[in-house]
Amino acid sequence: MVNYFELYGIPQSFNPDPAVVKAKYYELSRQYHPDRFSMAEEEEQALALQLSSANNQAWKTLNNPDATMSYVLKLEGMLEDEEKYSLPPAFLMEMMELNELLSEYEMEDAGEETLERARHMLQELLQDWENETRPLVGKYDTGDHSRLLLGQIKEQYFRKKYLLRIQERMNSFATR
């Protein structure tokens, strides 16, 4: 498994520099382009193909802050498949409330102001999330790799999952 940060020659971070990531992606795309290996040995071709697909994956990951967060937490051994994780009840309650607002709207016994209220609530939660998360990932990126800090970031990661899920639900209304 290729480490995307090593592949791009950048430090492991929750906030990789987008300009550098983009430049690296283009550089490696050219470097490992299949056309350049059409005359090469089979083994060399296979390696180029492997690196080219790693490059695509690296780009998809590091170009997206949520995917990057998940990736770094995995590298740090903080996320397990199908792991059980409990978020604070107060947060779950907020998620319940927000989902209920959307259901009210969906059942069409509530007007646009309900959707507006939900949208406003989500905006505030996303803003809070940004404000809480920025200093945490900042600490990591400046050298604090403690389990305590990573645990806090992990909680933020799972909170964001809920917020994104609700956002997705809201966006599905816009297109109907």
Binding site: E82, K84, P89, L92, M95, M96, E100, F158, K161, Y162
Partner: protein, 138 residues
């Protein structure tokens, strides 16, 4: 992936969707979530104080069809049981009844967790000791 008929039935006609008054002494509320999928489930029981039987159960689940079906089935099973009997409901019973595929087993675990959380809330409210819940994987 194809859902079983029972899942579809519970999903389309969920039983016992709603809310009980969580301020009441004889109502226990469990609120649990599966962060990886963004699911959130609330399950409530109302205990008849004279008979000690669960006389009503309600749920509200935001999640996939299997999560909704699991909690709907759970509320059906809860009614008429004593609180202690309710504790013996195992997620694998839900899996079997609904024919859940392996990738959806975590939904049944969520429902079992919700039952236990509701019971714990009821116990604490009524001066009983909180149960230590075993760590089952989702």
């Amino acid at each position: 992936m194809a859902y079983s008929e029972k899942v579809i039935d519970h999903y389309q006609n969920p039983k016992n969707v709603g809310t009980l008054d969580k301020a009441k002494q004889n109502v226990g509320t469990g609120l649990v979530g599966a962060p990886e999928c963004g699911d959130v489930m609330r399950l409530q029981i109302e205990v008849d104080e004279t008979t000690g039987l669960i006389k009503d159960a309600k749920f509200k689940t935001f999640g996939c069809g299997s999560a909704i079906a699991s909690s709907s089935l759970a509320t059906e099973w809860l009614k008429g049981k004593t609180v202690d009997q309710a504790l013996t409901i195992d997620n694998m019973d839900i899996v079997e009844e609904l024919n859940l595929p392996p990738v959806k087993i975590h939904c049944s675990v969520l429902a079992e967790d919700a039952i236990k959380a509701a019971i714990n809330d009821y116990r604490v409210k009524n001066g009983m000791e909180e149960l230590v819940l075993d760590e089952k994987k989702h």
